[in-house]
Amino acid sequence: MQISNRDDELNMYKAKNSAEEVKKHEDNCKIKSPNFLMERAAGDFEGCFYYMCNDMEICIDRGRYVQFYDFDYIYDPCVKNITPAYDLFLNNGLLDLNYHNDISNDLFCQRYNSVIDSIEILIKRVITELSMSNFEEREKKKRWFSNMLVTSAKSFEEALQRVLFLEQLLWQTGSRLVGLGRMDCYLRPFYYEDIKKGISKTEIYNEIVEFLEEAHNYYWYKSDVLVGDTGQVIILGGIEPGGEYVFDELSELLLEAVKNSKKTDPKVVLRVSHSMPVEVMNKAVGCMLMGNGSPLLSNDDVIIPALQQFGIKDDAYDYTTSACWEPLIGGKSSSMNNQACLSFAKALQNMLFEEQLDKIKDYSTFENKYFKYVKREIIRCKRLISQRRYSRNTLYSIFIKGCYQKKTDIVDGGAEYNNVGFTTVGIGNTVDALLNIKEYVFEKKELALIDVKKVSLYNFVGYESLYDKLKDRGSFFGRDDIEITSLTNRIMRYVTEETKDYSTSAAGKLKFGISSPSYIFESRNCLASFDGRKKGEPFTVHISNEKVDSYTELISFAGMIDYYENRFNGNVLDLIFSPSFLEKNLEKVSLMFLYGIEKGFFQLQTNVISSAVLKAAKDHPEEYGNLIVRVWGFSAYYVQLPEEFKDLLIKRAMENEVVV
């Protein structure tokens, strides 16, 4: 049966159902935002934004903060993985951000001012709604919103409301993975002002807690690829340009609030340094023990020099991260840091299937040829990046520094920094495979290269004993051995060699790292590899410990990797701890991390899990709704993950429990 149009459909519905249900159905079918949708279809950001501000529903509830989403007014997904300049909004009235001179000749400036006009409309509507409500604190909230237009925030609480409001506007306009930036930094003046005024730390702590709750709301809408992948990261602590490590009582309150939140979102990245106090590291490890995946440790002693060598001078001290871990300069950068993914394993597979293997007589020839195939993947990434086009985002352009001065939209290179990042996957598997090939084929000569190809082709069928042998020997990648680290560095430096001269249309440079969210997605079509990985099995997760029996060795390994030039787009040590082990050894683990900073690891995150609990949760999801795990670079509710992610975590937890 064919239904030609909506009227027919409705008539049919009427014929079958009661009047009440018909009414409900009619309401459902009514398009609430026709003007908005029309502008959206035309791709007109400012038009859409105007209708959004003018028409969207404003819901005011009893909460401490005002936050309202209207899912009938969502703009198309666009800019991703960027942190706006919250300080700009906290320290200025919105109207101060306008172009005040004659802008009749400049389209960007006109669009820019029109978006500010629209926000003004929305703010005024919020004030009206507040006037009509009868909540106790409505006068205070009205003042917050009227201040937003003309002056800086006047208190810590008001500052948090502004952060929430700006974030909400960005999410509502389709931006994804909006970071929260260095909260302790941009909130610091408001905090000490309030303390001076006599407001208690407990009160401020409560303000933070309720802010975090509001930010956690709608996490299902904010999630990107998987539920939980929201990118709402708070950056805490860090080295100041004078070299001093700063983690003050505000940083502590924020960390404490996240620790006690028992929620996936927001997450914390803690910037660390060898000069940080032991107590701060103890607090961080204490937070990890709570099992919500925070904080990720980010080593300033490696990252800041790497950023500076890359050409980012003083601003390097102000780095934040993208959704997961990729360093960028928050509020000044358009770096979408996950623009392509290079698979080292795919390059090796291509090589095995395209080369005339019998002509390769020694390992160094083999490795050099392999690099040619890596180059092919690099070109593919570069081309993909050059083809990326984003529709303009005037809202983000207001809150990213540089766009105003350059009078250029963020997607056209208006930001101060426009470097682009890509990720890589499978380096662990590839390093292992290359070393195995070197040993079995070229040194011991037990196998021919053609066997390596057959292993891929037949998924180890006919090579069962080899499979057992490869499985049994564990992983090379992650061992602190000069041959292994130098091979890893050779591969990474090769990628630098082939990417360092590339420049994007916005004069941005390329950067990459060896951590990627794609260890499952990219592995699905990859045949068996010579590290003992069968067809379709996931790649190694970042630099991880379950196949290396010593945490210190793994940390030392991470310290031997060269992250300079452009190799700093996220390189994470991913450590699994069993809860009982971590609880018993809290202080020793904390010391180990501190010494690890000296050794020079790049970043470090932990999964505090036991395989028994994960298995139970997989079987009885209804009882484990609050169980949180760390997946690539975010925290997620375990039971909401796809099965293959659950299984991988169980497998890793089990391997970890056997090894340690």
């Binding site: 049994d472 020997r473 602190d480 210190t552 020793k588 010391l591 010494y595």
Partner: protein, 238 residues
């Protein structure tokens, strides 16, 4: 790397070869002496320079009292070679711990006494006959060696694995209590034998006897019993 074998963060050197054959041994691959077939690919034969080089990678982690733990196998069977390693480590002021069963010639102790900061001494089967039959060890030697360490003012820390099949047999338990009474100033950790190494045994085609796991309550009782006898005992969580 290990967090349990002594103060701070420690790096443990497992030495090949042991004169005993404890049924619960968790590193069975280290039992045999001078038999290359027992060294699988993960356990290569190292020379001293290799060991030094490997150890030095962890140097940074030994701040705050951490250091090297010599374990096995029975490390004291190779005391001559270890002496050289210890001299080297002590020049760098690194904390050294030895885990030993004490069934070794007494002269071997002399090699290491000047360097070792802490001796973990296993207390297992002290009944003369059982000791001979189960462990193939001479209990006189054990007692003599421990007394010798004490006479040299060494820091000793006893460790006692508990299994109802062996160490907790009444005859043996009485011997243990009377032995430890002589050392009431020295700390004693007691812990139940665990079945962690089962996978290892099966992998290597060795026979594995499953142990009855002793309940926490029973362990508390045992600990209390030792304390009532004036022994400085405590329960160790594994």
């Amino acid at each position: 790397m290990c967090f349990d074998d002594g103060p701070g963060i420690r790096t443990t050197v497992f030495l090949q070869g042991c004169s005993l054959c404890c049924p619960w041994c968790c590193n069975p691959e280290t039992q045999r002496v001078h038999d290359e077939s027992s060294c699988d690919e993960n356990h290569e034969l190292y020379d001293l320079d290799d060991i030094k080089r490997q150890l030095m990678k962890d140097l940074v982690f030994w701040q705050n009292g951490g250091g090297v733990t010599l374990s096995g196998g029975e490390p004291l069977l190779q005391s001559r070679d270890l002496r050289e390693l210890c001299v080297y480590l002590k020049e760098l002021n690194i904390n050294i711990v030895v885990e030993t069963s004490m069934f070794v010639p007494t002269m071997n102790l002399d090699d290491l006494i000047p360097f070792v900061d802490l001796w973990y001494v296993d207390v297992k089967i002290l009944d003369t006959n059982m000791c001979k039959i189960v462990l193939h060890g001479d209990i006189k030697l054990f007692e003599k060696n421990v007394a010798y360490l004490r006479s040299k003012n060494c820091k000793i820390h006893f460790r006692m694995p508990c299994s109802s099949e062996y160490t907790l047999q009444e005859k043996n338990w009485d011997r243990i209590v009377s032995f430890l009474k002589n050392y009431s100033n020295y700390p004693v950790d007691i812990f139940p034998i665990h079945n962690l190494a089962k996978r290892k045994y099966l992998q290597k085609g060795m026979k594995y006897i499953e142990f009855e796991t002793i309940q926490a309550d029973k362990m508390k009782q045992l600990c209390q019993c030792l304390m009532n006898n004036g022994i400085n005992a405590s329960l160790m969580n594994l």
